[in-house]
Assembly symmetry: C2
Homo-oligomer: 586 residues x 2
């Protein structure tokens, strides 16, 4: 039997060993088993090589039951209907197949400065046979590479309608206990059959349906308490911060390969550890996998070229500092094992590092099981009230996103104008004053020397002011753009988080209907409702945390911005006062 | 005999009763006598009407001696050679025929803000028969009209070479005793036969040749003293200033005609007089005629439309204030009868006003005779040194003119940018802050209200700063442009002044050559040299005065500019500090 797969998106080979393919192209697979997110095969042209596993769906043409299209609205009647695999070609416009660029309501899938996880993973090496996922990725060539297979691009701000048409396809196993459990489940309440649904992927569905199972250890417990403004994460009892300093270029292979190493010093250990961008990237992937309803701050975006240029390094470091600040500020993220390992483990102790890394990658309390770790003494929430609050928050995030986008565009243009136009105007004025003073110097009149010099100095002052304008944006506008980039990253996370909560709520409604129709026992529906409450409480706590750090960050940043601006205008005033004094004795 | 005239320049009829004509077109005259600078006749198309007398030269075809082309370099041999009037058509490129727009080294014949006298006078009425130069011009229709026929356009910064080819033509009598005297002169030293030469027109030539004659009264005497930096005008022993206030709209003919009246109050009489723009214009013409080597400040330029708009009135008033300041600062101009009459005579006393007006118009001590009024105890100047200093000053004026032009262009553009671009940028930033704060207001979190309000106020502050930028140019850049306009007017005067002095110097050289060739008596040459010394001393005194007020004015204006700019940036700082405080309790 020939193993085939169909390309869900265009993929353009960017590195040796990769092969390109077009959307809907049928490729031949050599093995169903992916290696760190990559599959090996041949495209229709016969090119042999690697491509991202998440870009294809496997088509097994000899067994009809493994390829089916199901309308979820009629799931009870049509579920299990077998359709030919060739039918996929007829549904190219199904929502999950839209590449990110076609997503509406959201101009760009990525945000300047911060990026969602890689759209496709980098190949582990030229040929997968040679690199069975080397653990020692500290020395990998590609500084920005990700070794974790990632989800297919999801449309941000598309309609989060859990009841929309969904498509069940057999895709290659993509890991994650939740999905594996889903495969063998036979619950009465219909499962959301869209494998690309965040509700499914995150493990939210599995948890709600009572399918999550893990050994809960005490130290894994995450507490949600009832605060003044509703559910909130219990504060980290051992808060700490972490500095990121001295990005330095390191080399390996006798200088043939280079990367940048950052020195991290957490306040609670006061011990410096060295980390590369790829470690941040690895950590980020772990966190996203583990925490379905927590907005993990995006790490600064990847960049293939100019990675060793000073400006880029400085900008990335600033981005990492912002990221670290949000990590250490988060009661759940800051405490979690994988992050603690990241900020405390001495990477020179290779054994300890690898051990922690392996442990994190084998963590069972991720996805669906994460919800098992949530403990709360709070009374169950009114789900209708939750729904209304979530809707309000959804509106808020849209508006904040629009506001951030506009401010970002304005501020970016303002910076550009100051660097170019404003500088030019002030410098032209300065030059014209100096040109006039040069003309005046030809007047042969001794009594005008003082004036001529004063005008010349005024010219110098205006040239300096031009420079001030050009230098200022990096001091006050860039930090605002950094802040906005980080928050735009969070805002990009929330559709998925909201989706998970909404999915859970839909299950509750379904189960209540089933109970009314006597298709489900009340106790089972009660369990669903309780678990939905857990998801809701966690979501509300995360939203509360978001608002609190948002107010904290925007307040601090606006204050810093205004202080910088005040200092800037005072500096100009000082320069002009200096020039004015020159006229006193002129 | 048909009286004919040839058009020296294109003239386009702009008002009823005027007729158009092209350069070199032959027109028929009804009378040789001009009415307030206008002649009546018919053009080649047969249109009958008025045209400016200064735009044509009269061609008397029946007498050859009245139309001649003479090369001044060979004047002793070819002077008086008769040539046909038709020959004029062969010399269209002679310098005096170039309309101002063709003049090189000077981009524009006029300066923004200040204008030389009208290129052609306004017709006194639709038909000249009806208006024999009414004395009561206070009530004339045309507020900006000039009742004085003016010189043909002269090229600014053309080469002041008194030895260049010049053309003698019989033009209609244009008044002025100097020219009339020249006509009957028979001095041995050849006269500059170019009627358009400033040296001739100003009376400089007539004076140097000893042809000026007038009854010198004591009070007419103008003293040049030897100061620290060379010859200088004796200070006005009764210095005064004069304010110009309350431009008010007056009407006449039962409201059918309107004009603006300004209230002038000189400090030495403390008595207010009312003056219209046309009075300034009349005075200006008197002063230009009277003082050949004094740079009479230009009055603000004429404007046919929008004369009653507030902006225009305010701008004109500012221009008149600058003009008045330069008039009262000038030791010679401030003292002279016609100016004193202008600032002191109550125009309500119509008889006194008319009397002074008539007296000024009949003043004999103008042009050539002006030089008779100059007294100096200073030793004769070294003419070679004078020549070198004048050359240095000529270079200076060119450089200052370039510098002023560039600064004016820069400042004008800078003002435009502040009013449009700068304002827009700051306001966009303000709007974006406000847009974000509006989004934040949807967060349902009571603890963020303070921040939301502070961001909104920051937005307001940036919108206000945008307005500050737009308002600022009228406070600091406009005054600089006003200053530059006034000085560009002076710079436009100096070519003619230098021309007069150079012409005198040339006469000295010629006379010395004649003495060597025994064609002239030494005593006559000595007289020419003495008179050239008077012109030189007056020119040097005027240059000295120019430098002194220039240093005074530019120093004061630069100081005012810098103080305004400092105040401006302090105002911005204050606004930002206000906004910053709002975050204290946010």
């Amino acid at each position: 039997m020939a193993l085939k797969a169909r390309a869900l998106y265009d993929f353009n080979s960017e590195n040796p060993g990769e092969i390109s393919m077009r959307e809907n192209e049928i490729v031949t697979l050599y093995s169903e088993r992916d290696i760190e997110g990559w599959l090996e095969g041949a495209n229709s042209k016969g090119d042999r090589g690697l491509f991202p596993a998440s870009y294809v769906e496997i088509v097994k043409s000899d067994t009809a039951s493994t390829a089916a299209v199901v309308n979820h609205n009629n799931s009870s009647s049509t579920s299990g209907n077998a359709l030919q695999g060739s039918l996929y070609a007829n549904v190219p416009d199904a929502p999950y197949q839209s590449p990110p660029s076609k997503v509406k309501n959201f101009p760009s899938p990525g945000y300047p400065g911060f990026s969602p996880p890689a759209q496709h993973p980098q190949p582990p090496g030229v040929f997968p046979e040679n690199s069975q996922g080397s653990e020692d990725d500290w020395y990998d060539d590609w500084d920005d590479s990700s070794t974790v297979a990632d989800e297919a691009p999801t449309g941000l701000y598309r309609e989060f309608d859990a009841n929309g048409p969904s498509i069940y396809t057999v895709s290659m196993p993509r890991g994650g206990p939740a999905q594996q459990q889903t495969a063998k489940s036979s619950a009465t309440v219909g499962k959301n059959l869209n494998r690309f649904s965040t509700f499914v992927k995150s493990g939210g569905e599995a948890f709600v349906l009572g399918e999550a199972a893990g050994v809960l250890k005490d130290w894994d417990q995450i507490f949600v308490v009832m605060g003044q403004y509703g559910p909130q994460w219990q504060e980290n009892p051992y808060p700490f911060a972490c500095t990121i300093d001295d990005p330095t270029k390191q080399t390996k292979f006798k200088g043939m390969k280079s990367y940048i190493s950052y020195k991290l010093t957490p306040t609670h250990t006061q011990t410096q550890v060295n980390r590369r961008y790829k470690h941040f990237d690895w950590l980020y992937a772990r966190l996203v996998e583990k925490f379905p309803v927590i907005s993990v701050p995006h790490i600064p975006e990847k960049q293939a070229t100019g990675r060793f240029e000073e400006d880029f390094i400085s900008k990335r470091r600033k981005g990492l500092i912002w990221w670290m600040n949000h990590m250490t500020s988060h009661p759940v993220l800051s405490k979690c094992d994988v992050f603690q390992h990241f900020v405390t483990c001495n990477s020179a102790d290779e054994k300890a590092w690898k051990q922690g890394k392996r442990k994190a990658e084998k963590d069972e309390m991720v996805g669906a099981n994460f919800f098992l770790t949530i403990s709360t003494m709070a009374a169950p929430l009114d789900l209708q009230e939750v729904e209304s609050k979530i809707d309000g928050f959804k509106t808020f995030t849209k508006r904040m996103d629009e506001g951030s986008m506009q401010l970002n565009a304005t501020v970016s243009e303002f910076a550009r104008k100051q660097i170019s136009g404003f500088k030019k105007e002030y410098q032209r004025v300065g030059q014209s004053f100096k040109f006039l003073s040069q003309a005046f110097e030809m007047d042969q009149q001794p009594y005008s020397a003082g004036l001529n010099q004063a005008i010349s100095i005024t010219g110098d002052a205006y040239e300096a002011i031009g420079d001030y304008f050009a230098e200022q944006p990096s001091k006050d506008l860039d930090p605002i753009m950094d802040l906005l980039a980080l928050y735009q990253g969070h805002l990009a996370n929330y559709p998925d988080i909201i989706h998970v909560q909404k999915g859970a709520l839909t299950k509750v409604k379904e189960s209540q209907k089933h109970v009314e129709e006597a298709k489900m026992e009340a106790s089972q529906a009660e369990g669903i409702k309780e678990r939905c409450n857990v998801i809701s409480i966690a979501t509300m706590a995360e939203i509360q945390h978001f608002h609190q750090i948002r107010v904290r960050d925007f307040k601090a940043q606006m204050q810093q911005y205004l202080r910088e601006q005040i200092g800037f205008f005072q500096k100009i005033t000082g320069k002009l006062e200096e020039a004015l004094q020159k006229y006193d004795n002129a």
